[in-house]
Symmetry: C2
Subunit: 349 residues, 2 copies
DNA sequence: TCGCTCCGTGGGACCGCTCCCACGCGGCAT
DNA sequence: ATGCCGCGTGGGAGCGGTCCCACGGAGCGA
């Protein structure tokens, strides 16, 4: 009564998906041969290969990751660890930009991306063991604080790891970062070129390498222009808007004569804008302002901010690349990659 | 010569991690018993349980996911699928907010989160088979376009699926959404309460349910106030800034007399701000403006935008919850959850 | 013709876990 | 004392791949 079943792939997940065995049977070859075809081994005759490929197509076969992983001791998956506390601070394109690049870089290699948001640093303890045991092939870490122990833990456990940014000058682990110093230099040079004389800066928290690098760039640009670096033109922020406001207030108090500010993040710059306006300074007429990150905020603040752009997507791609390299050949991926930054000129400077 | 090795967990991933077998041997029990302890079966004597737990602690044992997954046909992982094209459009807190909630909701259940960014809709074809074959236990989907076939495909394959938002009124699949209609109503009521008479709206692309819902809310609020709904007060946007500008221009052309605008997204609202300013209208004096999303943009536009907030993190949590339910008991998670929105009043209206 | 390679091949053993069956043993009713 | 029940328990049989060893046959030189 029942019509002949066409050899379609099963419609539901309940109906067991075809296994490598089934493919072998249908193609009239052994399991080994099917496995070889799937993994692209050259030691297969054209005849067998064709038969196997047909069978695979007919059955809609897709290899089972768990089984493969069990046998190979690889997972073909990497974890992206994002400390949640930081996440909130991120100038918004940051997270999405990086993750987009990472995802693209991994997809090309058929790797899966596991995203792990950690709620607090305490979790990092368990996390190391967890990641090692789950046999994620590697780990990507965003926003590493200098005192985070996770990278070292992973290193001890010999888990390939790549960081977004570095913890200090002598980062042993593979990492990718933007040329923060260079970007800051661009920003300050731009202000100098605009004829500004008293250029202040609002820094990020100096226990983060990014913040230090941006401050260094500020110094360098002034120095190379022969301008003096004055301590009271430097105010500390924390990458938040409120921090930016406070720092700007402080700068205005200390140096009513300043005519430009380089803020180490757009969000802080946006705080600075509010404070400048409150103080009756016009931007850029009285005080020119440059931010960092080229975030959405930069485009929407009034006036739109001149800002330093980092190539986020490329950074993510590079992280993925470095990690894959390290996974394939231990030791080769442990380099620092620096990507160029770029000044996006808008109306604030 | 070599000092006695203390029974520490191995320091490197190369050194094979202890297996369940090792734990059994050390605890002096059978594999079955260890398995029972790990999985919290009650049918274990206190004596055995204690012995096993000690052995686990001493060896630093963590079960191998691949092996477990192979045996159970579960993966303890779910995928979050994000169409990248949409992603770019997202008002920025959206993606991070949802993912944070999802992550939290899953972590509590010990589930892993796989993030899949799709580059174009074509990929969705292969993706369905892929997801089913990888035996992800379930799938979360963001930003579903009405014409996306992936949800139906997954449904056919009997893969538990939960959507962020719905495709239409009669969404069969489980989904979580904000009360977009209610939010829009709040916004327009607020404008009415402020004494505005001619309230325009800039909509999103009407093939997206969110956009339609927000437009509906606009209609409702006018109707309940006994105000006429005038077609020429409605302009179509596409959730982009440029779209917002174009729509605003159009509205001003058609109705120079309008005194308020409800934009279906902050980004479009920000475009509208520029256009209004160009036209010499003061905000909110001449034209009041309300956005949607309560994104960072809203806080940084000048003047800061009154906007409708959706509880993103809770939405993510709810999605995770629904999916877990559906995975545990097929059929129970296929509901629509609606979370309340809230009006955040700032200076633009 | 008879080895000897060498290539392609089949299939056993294993990866580390869960599932489930069968077994021993103490306690209870008969 | 005998049977029966039921609890804990051990361990075999998978789950679906990969790895590798051994084997048959074609091709070649002697």
């Amino acid at each position: 009564m029942s019509p002949a079943e066409p050899p379609q792939p099963p419609r539901t997940a309940e109906a067991r998906r075809p296994t490598l065995n089934a493919v072998a049977a249908r193609a009239g070859v052994g399991r080994g041969t099917v496995s070889r075809v799937i993994n692209g081994s050259p030691k297969v005759s054209d005849r067998s290969r064709a038969a196997v490929e047909r069978a695979i197509a007919e059955l809609g076969y897709v290899p089972n990751r768990a089984a493969r992983s069990l046998a190979t001791r690889r997972t073909d998956a990497v974890a992206l660890v994002v400390p949640d506390a930081e996440n909130r601070l991120f100038s918004e394109p940051y997270f999405s930009g990086i993750i987009r690049g990472v995802s693209a870089g991994l997809a090309d290699a058929g790797m899966q991306l596991l995203v792990v948001l950690t709620r607090d640093d305490k979790e990092h303890g368990r996390l190391a063991a967890y990641l090692a045991a789950q046999r994620v092939d590697g780990v990507l870490m965003m926003a590493v604080h200098g005192d985070d122990t996770l990278p070292d833990r992973l290193d001890e456990l010999a888990v390939p790891t790549v960081l977004a940014g570095r913890r200090g000058d002598r980062e042993r682990l593979g990492h990718v970062r933007a040329d923060n110093r260079g970007g800051a230099r661009l920003a300050v040079r731009h202000l100098l070129a605009g004829g500004r004389r008293f250029i202040g800066t609002i820094t990020g928290p100096l226990d983060m390498e990014v913040a230090r690098a941006r401050l260094d760039g500020y110094h360098e640009a002034l120095r190379e222009a022969g301008a003096p670096v004055e301590e009271d033109l430097i105010a500390g922020g924390d990458f938040t808007e409120e921090g930016g406001r406070a720092a700007m207030r402080e700068l205005l108090r200390r140096r009513p004569d300043l005519d430009a500010v380089f803020a180490a993040s757009d969000v802080m710059a946006s705080g600075a804008v509010q404070e400048l306006r409150a103080a009756g300074r016009r931007i850029p007429r009285d005080v020119a302002l440059v931010g960092f990150d080229d975030s959405i905020v930069a485009r929407h603040v009034d006036p739109p901010l001149t800002s330093v752009r980092q190539p986020l997507e490329e950074m993510g791609r590079a992280m993925a690349g470095l990690l894959l390299e390290e996974i394939a050949h231990r030791g080769t991926g442990r380099r620092g990659v620096v990507l160029p930054t770029e000044l996006v000129v808008r109306e604030s400077a």
